[in-house]
């Protein structure tokens, strides 16, 4: 009989079954991770039938979302830093270039994927399909069975595991800003010209702007189907 219940008397204790149903989050320390395992072969079947239509056969597609796999090297797996993030070679930042913790992927696939049928995968299936993705990125070998027992070791091979830092400046209310400005009111230093102007073709990429603004008032939307006003 808790003190709280005495105060407002609303709500009721959650049952074990209810907690089991909803308390599904998995933390980086693997708190919340259910037991289970899955092979890459099993994962490949699930992937092909359930995931590939959106993410591509090798997680490379960017037709419905940015690629999941790509841009990481065996070297990154050693260093835990994805080198391509500093070079400019890779066209986009793939999921495996960014995500530092394997728990994140397990948790997210389990709660949200496949996108059009979320929460349909059993834990073993999540292990399997995640193993398949990790193998695509050469983080685990092709005969690997991912399980709750060995996932902590896989964590030690995540390519970008050392590539993130918690940034208190924007976390704590009194965090220290890393940028800023000073109030200057007259004859302030400023560039003579804009460093960037809207590319002419971008003027019309969002359609006729006249149709996106109020028809009366101090200013009007410009008909961007026509050339710029002169």
């Amino acid at each position: 009989d808790n003190a709280a219940a005495t105060k407002y008397g609303v709500g009721r204790p959650a049952t074990e079954t209810e907690l089991k149903a909803w308390d599904i989050d998995v933390r980086p320390d693997f708190k919340g991770l259910p037991k289970g395992s899955g092979t890459i072969d099993q994962g490949a079947d699930i992937w092909d039938s359930t995931c590939a239509s959106c993410h591509g056969s090798f997680g490379e597609s960017n037709s419905v979302f940015t690629p999941l796999v790509g841009g990481t090297t065996l070297d990154d797996i050693v260093t835990g830093r994805v080198a391509a993030l500093t070079g400019g070679g890779q066209p986009s930042r793939t999921t495996l270039m960014k995500v530092p913790t394997v728990s994140t992927l397990w948790d997210y696939i389990h709660r949200a994927m496949p996108w059009d049928n979320p929460k349909s995968l059993e834990p073993d299936e999540v292990y399997a399909v995640l193993a398949y993705l990790l193998n695509l990125a050469e983080i685990v070998p092709s005969d690997f069975t991912l399980s709750n027992e060995n996932i902590a070791q896989v964590q030690e091979k995540m390519p970008n595991r050392n590539g993130m830092k918690s940034w208190e400046g924007l976390w704590k209310v009194d965090g220290k800003p890393d940028t800023g400005n000073v109030i200057c009111t007259s004859d302030c230093v400023t560039a003579d010209q804009p460093s960037s102007t809207l590319p002419p073709q971008a003027r019309n990429t969002h359609g006729d702007l006249a149709a996106q603004m109020r028809i009366v008032g101090p200013v009007r939307g410009v008909n961007t189907q026509a050339p710029a006003l002169s």
Binding site: W22, D178, N181
Partner: protein, 401 residues
């Protein structure tokens, strides 16, 4: 001496047909009351809609629709034009079927119905919500034409709900040892986000009310977390669960998105707070001024760290600045509307606004931001916005270093 001038002045001596010929609305019986039991804007306002930015996202359910800031007045966002950001689409939750669970480091995990929650002591407060990715398309260069697309992942409403602290107390949360709470939604993505205990005990609300009525479905009906000052993705919608814990969760949107990449390739995580920022909404990109003369230049300023203290406006690309009028009320972690008189002499000019908040932080220039954060960090672009007015009156999005 005979010409358009004389003709115009002769016509003027008679007058404007809008006055001389009675308009239908003043010579007829109008519509009855409650003709619309729930009213709508005038059809003449139909241009003002939420819109997507073409090409920004690959799908329409993991996407964003931008609020038409160019048409807004004051600080309250009309609920029908609140920006949207979904990760797995928006859902229509039956409030009688909705539940909130609180678990983790608590004396007793509990389940609440909407009826339960709405019996608890509630508070109402006006706060802005800004997506961490707002102005994200502009990190590299001027990319989109109007303020709807540069700054439209921003809204401001009056929220009503129970302080999260009341629920944490009700479940006997272990506030000494726990440092974090997890918030989880009940949509397809069951979005999870880590919230700092500091915020949770301060001003976070478990809210059902928005602008006087229930939340709109797109904004989390019947329950969302309101985390004042913090980026929108943390304001978990269709909220179904709060877990109290001693470590952050590194959820998908804390480990793959909503992480800010620095020039050295390191990503910053848990970059929650939306720092001080402002933008002129009228005149703004894609608009044209209707000739020389007097204008009321108007815009919005906000800070996730407190109140707006001052907004300065420059009409010469940042060389000289004048302090704008602030409309009241000026509230904590809330939009503040600013206005300033201006006479346009017809020559090309660049307009900027620069906000200062109650901590003394001054909104940075692009150069100041990029010197630290580079150009590929996607989130938290709070640089000074520049609008270039051409001689034609047309306004263009430009960036000043």
């Amino acid at each position: 001496a005979t010409g358009p001038t004389l003709a115009a002045s002769a016509q003027q001596a008679v007058g404007d047909p809008m006055i001389l010929e009675p308009r239908p609305w003043s010579t007829k019986l109008g519509y009855p009351v409650a003709f619309k039991p729930y009213g709508q804007p005038s059809p003449f306002e139909a241009n003002l809609q939420r819109r997507q930015s073409p090409g920004l996202t690959q799908t329409t359910q993991a996407s964003v629709s931008f609020a038409p800031l160019q048409g807004f007045f004051g600080i309250i966002t009309p609920s029908g034009l609140h920006f949207e950001r979904h990760h797995q689409g928006w859902v229509d939750v039956d409030p009688e079927q909705h539940r909130l669970m609180v678990n983790g480091m608590v004396e007793e995990a509990k389940v609440y119905t909407m009826d339960d929650l709405m019996r608890l002591p509630s508070v109402s407060r006006i706060h802005f919500i800004e997506c961490g990715a707002n102005t994200g398309m502009e990190w590299g260069n001027a990319a989109v034409p109007t303020v709807q697309y540069t700054h439209g992942m921003l809204s401001c409403c009056e929220f009503t709900g129970v302080p999260l602290k009341v629920l944490l107390d009700d479940c006997g949360a272990d506030i000494k040892n726990a440092q974090f709470v997890l918030a989880e939604g009940n949509d397809g993505s069951s979005m999870t986000r880590t919230i700092s205990m500091e915020a949770a005990l301060d001003d976070v609300l478990v809210a059902w009310g928005m602008n006087g009525e229930m939340l709109r479905p797109e904004n989390g009906y019947p329950l969302r977390l309101v985390v004042p000052g913090v980026q929108g993705v943390s304001w978990v919608k269709w909220l179904r669960r709060i877990e109290v814990g001693d470590k952050p969760w590194n959820s998908k949107d804390e480990a793959s998105h909503y992480v800010d990449m620095m020039p050295d390739g390191i990503h910053r995580q848990y970059t929650s707070i939306q720092e001080c920022k402002s933008v002129i909404t009228s005149p703004s990109g894609g608009q044209a001024l209707m000739g020389k003369g007097f204008y009321n230049v108007s815009g919005l300023a906000w800070s996730g760290r407190g109140k707006i203290k001052q907004v300065d406006v420059s009409f010469d690309a940042g060389r000289n600045w004048k302090t704008a009028r602030l409309e009241t009320p000026v509230l904590d972690k809330c939009l503040t509307r600013f206005n300033i008189d201006w006479v346009w002499d017809g020559s090309p000019v660049i307009l900027q606004s620069r906000a200062t908040d109650s901590t003394g932080f001054v909104q940075p220039r692009y150069r100041q931001l990029r010197e630290v954060r580079g150009t590929r960090s996607t989130y938290h672009n709070n640089a000074i916005q520049s609008w270039q007015v051409a001689q034609s009156g047309e306004v263009f999005n430009v960036q000043m270093d």
